[in-house]
């Protein structure tokens, strides 16, 4: 039997990134994927005959370090053009953010455009301060190494460089809600709605919830093509990005096994020793790296007997009930969104008419009900990559909020109703779209959980809120990728900095393992 230095559980983009990085350091690495296909929630799949889509549909935070370390461009990563964001409106023309998160606006008044440029510059400046903190391993509480202390000092220095007044605004705004920040600067409901939507996307927060601005910083700390805040629809869908990472991993010598669900992580005297598969097969390795959810990792695979109760409680307390659903429509032909030009249709279309609207959409989610008037971001990936749909036909891919994981009435009863509510909204902005639908696939958080083995259907593997970030992500004791179980590491979205196709948790975890000689 072959033996490995490291086993990576989960073949999503973070697992593959960790595996590839470890393999490049000379380790013998095996990736185990439960599904029959590699890629996790970034894999492109057929949802109707000839129509393909992936749950993740926009690339806006793939980290340049990951691209460089894994030489992804050499392995076929093709980056498309920067896509605009279009804030749709029913009574007004749409407002479009061109370039990297609105370098210029169209459809806004001159005074609004000027106010936006000022706010945009401020937000990017502040996100830039947080960016290094989001890229590296979080500092260890009570035991900061010299390296970590100096990294913190650097952040302090970059803060100081902002100048006194700017630093004051930074400290004041850090934990504010996005709605108040938008109100302080802007008038246009479309723009405020867009910011509110982006800040709360993927989290159980409304724009009026304190700390919601962090969500926007998280987004703006991401970059595409070296441009902060920029986004693109990757050519070939998100699956193509994963394919490039997979090629890099294989080139580095990583072994990959699909259809290999892990049943247990073998622990011997508090140390990870390998894994046992569902089939009963045991594979041993000195290092086990889990790219899957921390909850599943510790409670299902390791078992509570191997870890102390305090840590078990911390893991159990991680909040991870998703609120985002994913819609895939197979359309006879491309839909027409009112007032949107051809370039806009190739970008990201957002239905979030105002900040208050987003807040109202959030209200029911608190009580286990879906939004009767949901907000969403829509892309038409087949316009940029015709291979995703049959000739002349079109794929619509949308992230829709709010769809609470634990729907009170149950998703079996709720799903058709929620789909109807979504279609009713779409019809308002793209009249006639309903008649084009050949097939609709709605993935609720419950579906995402079942299909991608993400507990709670949460794409961040745990709420990305202030109390679950940095040193608290996923929980104290496991925030630095190493865990209380020696030889067991975490490398998924549940770890710092969080989800989105960035590859950062995977890269950081691998570096930590290498540093610890694991």
């Amino acid at each position: 039997m072959t033996s490995f230095d490291a086993i990576v559980i989960g073949g999503g983009h973070n697992g593959l990134t960790a595996a590839a990085t470890l393999a490049k350091s000379g380790r013998k690495v095996l990736v185990l994927e439960a599904a029959s296909e590699i890629g996790g929630a970034a894999r492109t799949e057929e949802f109707a005959p000839g129509f393909r889509a992936a749950p993740a549909h926009l690339l806006n935070r793939l980290h340049p370090e990951v691209v460089k370390t894994l030489e992804l461009e050499r392995h076929g990563l093709a980056l498309g053009p920067i896509a605009p964001s279009v804030a749709l409106s029913r009574d007004d023309k749409p407002l479009t953010l061109h370039g990297a998160y609105g370098e210029s606006l169209s459809g806004a008044s001159a005074s609004e455009a000027a106010a936006w440029q000022e706010l945009r510059a401020q937000l990017l400046r502040y996100a830039g301060i947080l960016k290094p903190l989001l890229a590296r391993r979080p500092p260890e509480l009570g035991n900061m190494s010299l390296m970590e202390t100096s990294a913190f000092a650097m952040t302090g220095l970059s803060l100081r460089r902002l100048g006194k007044e700017d630093m004051r605004d930074f400290l004041r705004m850090l934990l504010m809600n996005v709605s108040d920040v938008a109100d302080e600067h802007l008038d246009d409901d479309r723009l405020k709605g867009l910011l509110a939507f982006d800040a709360t996307l993927g989290s159980h927060l409304g724009p009026r919830s304190p700390t919601s601005l962090l969500g926007l910083y998280y987004r703006l700390a991401g970059e595409f093509g070296r441009q902060p805040g920029a986004q693109a629809l990757p050519a070939g869908g998100m699956g193509a990005v994963v394919a490039a990472i997979l090629r890099a991993a294989k080139a580095a010598g990583v072994s990959i096994r699909a259809d290999a669900p892990v049943a247990r992580i073998l622990a011997e005297k508090g140390r990870a020793a390998g894994v046992a598969l569902d089939s009963g097969e045991e594979i041993r390795a000195r290092t086990v790296v889990s790219a899957i959810n921390p909850h599943s990792t510790f409670l299902d695979l390791v078992g509570t007997r191997e870890i102390d109760t305090g840590f078990v409680r911390r893991i159990k307390n991680i909040r991870m009930k998703g609120d985002a659903a994913k819609l895939h429509l197979a359309l006879d032909r491309p839909p027409e969104f009112s007032g949107v030009d051809a370039a806009g249709h190739r970008g990201r279309l957002v239905i979030a008419p105002s900040s208050d609207h987003v807040e109202r959409a959030f209200n029911p989610a608190k009580y286990g009900e879906f939004s009767p008037e949901p907000v969403m971001e829509i892309t038409l990936p087949s316009l940029s990559d015709p291979t995703l749909a049959p000739d002349g036909a079109c794929v619509l891919s949308a992230v829709v909020q709010y769809a609470p994981y634990a729907l009170k009435e149950g998703w079996e009863a709720g799903k058709p109703k929620f789909l109807a509510a979504i279609m009713a909204r779409l019809e308002l902005y793209a009249p006639g779209i309903g008649r084009l639908v050949r097939h609709a696939e709605l993935l609720t958080p419950a579906d995402l959980e079942a299909r991608y083995r993400m507990p709670g259907g949460h794409w961040h593997h745990g709420e990305l809120q202030a109390d679950q970030m940095m040193m608290s992500r996923p929980a104290f004791g496991a925030a630095g990728y190493d865990t209380p179980v020696e030889g067991l590491f975490l490398c998924g979205a549940g770890s710092h900095p969080g989800g989105g196709v960035s590859g950062v948790p995977g890269l950081n975890a691998a570096r930590r393992i290498i540093e610890m000689r694991g």
């Binding site: 260890e140 509480l141 009570g142 035991n143 100081r160 006194k164 007044e165 630093m167 004051r168 605004d169 400290l171 004041r172 705004m173 850090l174 934990l175 504010m176 809600n177 108040d180 302080e184 927060l205 009026r208 919830s209 304190p210 700390t211 305090g310 409680r313 307390n317 909040r319 807040e359 109202r360 209200n363 608190k366 009580y367 809120q465 202030a466 109390d467 679950q468 040193m471 608290s472 104290f476």
Partner: protein
């Protein structure tokens, strides 16, 4: 013409605390008050014969014991009586009792859930630990993190050391606690709705946030860090109503030689060459002082009492952006007999404390949704009590004064100003909430005073009716309170200070802002502060 050493605007508790400390340091201090009574929002008023209302603030818990001792308030008649119980009524006709005794309280929880009774010890420990961490910060001036002055750096180091002293695991818990919602925090401890609702209320009182909003765990702390007779988290009544607090302060102030002028509304702060010189009263009278201390909120002080041209643009922008949306109302009721609550045994100690009708966190949160939409809660959260159960001085024998704090209540109704009809409808919502649990309640009402944010603003001068003179969110705490760069009780105008709840550490009848401001003023004057006992560090 006389020039005072210091003039304090507003005879609320913080203004008086500030004046007392300045006067005791040897300054000649004048307090001016716009109303013909003193006390601001800490007052007892007789609005119907025989009854005294604590008509704004209604509970004494946060008032700092150091201040009480320094200013000899017990000698001037202040007496605080602890609650003896409390209850949350449930919709199914039962109730959850609160007892002062930890073990009795725990046994009560066991009636609902054995697991929650177990968890109560852990909860009490976790919260107390957070209180211990924050309490010493109340009586310190927040450092300016952008400053290189030794004092600010020293204070930052103090905070850092205090944090580091917690140990790694507790540091992690503290970091999380500060940004959590009270609902999430309670979910980590308890499983029973009514028990969670019982604790959640402290996370929302006076705050324009729902229990599910991040940051409300900190608000809970703000209500818990008080103490009565050394018992942390205890709440109590001031004998004779909340006016007894300000009356004792006023008496202490006068006894040390201070002067108070009521019915003297300030129109403007006199500023000459960027320096405060005194006041102009409504009617034109000028009063001169070497320095002016404003106990009015930060918006009222700088947007109404000072001319715009005297202030830098950045400062003005920040004052304008200061959030002080009111979120609560108050209904004060005179009752001709003891109301009946069939759920509670007749002689239960639960009557001698605060009673609530909101038995789930979801109901509280839905009440907040109404507020966000610009309406008062259709199913309001009430913090209801009859101080006369413990303090017979506030009503004729056999009769009772009932105080109902009501949340949520917006500063404007769907974007427009409050009308009298709105106010009456609001009162009706409150009364019917009580009557649901107390048959015949309406018939016992002799007199009622209804206060919406409109009344709070008009009478006590709280902008938008915000009882904390500014929301308690992260962007408005510590060195951000009231605005970044001016968290140290000073203002851009030389000789003009602020000492109200708009400043660190915020609202509640605590007195800390008034004392901290006095400390800063005396430093600026190079006056001794020996008469201020050191803030105690250990609970």
């Amino acid at each position: 013409m006389k020039t005072w050493d210091a003039i304090v605007i507003g005879a609320g508790h913080n203004g008086l605390v500030n004046a007392c400390y300045l006067q005791r340091a040897g300054l000649d201090v004048l307090v001016v008050e716009k109303n013909d009574w003193i006390g601001g929002a800490a007052t007892s008023r007789s609005l119907t014969p025989g009854f005294l209302y604590s008509n704004c603030s209604y509970v004494c818990s946060l008032f700092r014991p150091e201040i009480m001792r320094d200013l000899e308030l017990p000698r001037f008649g202040l007496q605080v009586i602890s609650y003896e119980g409390g209850a949350v009524f449930t919709r199914d006709g039962d109730y959850l009792a609160n007892y002062r005794d930890h073990h009795a309280h725990r046994r009560e929880f066991a009636r609902f859930s054995a697991r929650d009774a177990e968890a109560y010890d852990r909860y009490a420990r976790d919260v107390t630990r957070q209180c211990r961490f924050i309490q010493p910060l109340l009586m310190r001036t927040a450092p300016d993190p952008t400053s290189f002055r030794p004092r600010d750096i020293g204070e930052l180091i103090y905070l850092g050391k205090k944090f580091a002293g917690l140990g790694a695991a507790e540091m992690a818990d503290t970091l999380r606690f500060w940004t959590m919602s009270i609902s999430d925090f309670l979910d980590e401890h308890f499983e029973t709705d009514v028990i969670k609702a019982n604790f959640a209320l402290s996370g929302i009182i006076g705050t324009a946030l729902g229990p599910m909003s991040p940051g409300t765990a900190y608000v809970l702390l703000h209500h818990y860090m008080g103490e009565v007779d050394g018992s942390v988290g205890a709440w109590g009544y001031a004998r004779g109503g909340m006016g007894a607090v300000t009356k004792a302060l006023a008496d202490s102030f006068r006894a040390s030689g201070g002067t108070i002028r009521a019915s003297a509304e300030v129109e403007q702060v006199l500023v000459k060459n960027g320096k405060a010189r005194g006041l102009v009263l409504a009617g034109g009278e000028e009063i001169f002082g070497k320095l002016v201390v404003s106990n009015a909120d930060v918006k009222r002080t700088f947007l109404k009492l000072v001319e715009e041209k005297e202030l830098p643009d950045t400062f003005l922008r920040r004052v304008k952006n200061f959030k002080m949306r009111g979120s609560s109302g108050k209904v004060n009721i005179a009752l001709d007999s003891m109301p009946e609550f069939p759920a509670l045994p007749k002689d239960s100690p639960c009557y001698r404390g605060d009673m609530h009708f909101t038995d789930s966190v979801e109901r509280m949160e839905r009440g907040y949704d109404d507020w966000k939409a610009g309406r008062w809660s259709a199913d309001p959260f009430l913090d209801m009590m009859m101080p006369t159960m413990l303090d017979p001085t506030m009503a004729p024998p056999g009769k009772h004064f009932m105080s109902c704090f009501v949340q949520y209540c917006p500063p404007k109704v769907e974007g427009r100003d409050w009308t009298d009809a709105d106010r009456d409808a609001f009162a009706e919502t409150v009364i019917s909430q009580i009557a649901n649990y107390s048959p015949g309640f309406r018939d016992r009402i002799v007199h009622m005073e209804v206060r919406t944010p409109r009344e709070l603003e008009a009478e006590v001068g709280l902008t938008e009716g915000n009882i904390f003179q500014g929301e308690l969110t992260f962007d408005q705490l510590l060195f951000n309170r009231p605005v970044p760069g001016y968290a140290q009780y000073r203002s851009p105008i030389d000789g003009l200070y602020i000492c109200g709840s708009s400043t660190h550490p915020g609202g509640g009848v605590m007195g800390a802002p008034g004392r901290n401001a006095a400390n800063e003023i005396l430093r600026d004057l190079s006056q001794p502060t020996k008469h201020m006992s050191p803030a105690h560090d250990v609970i």
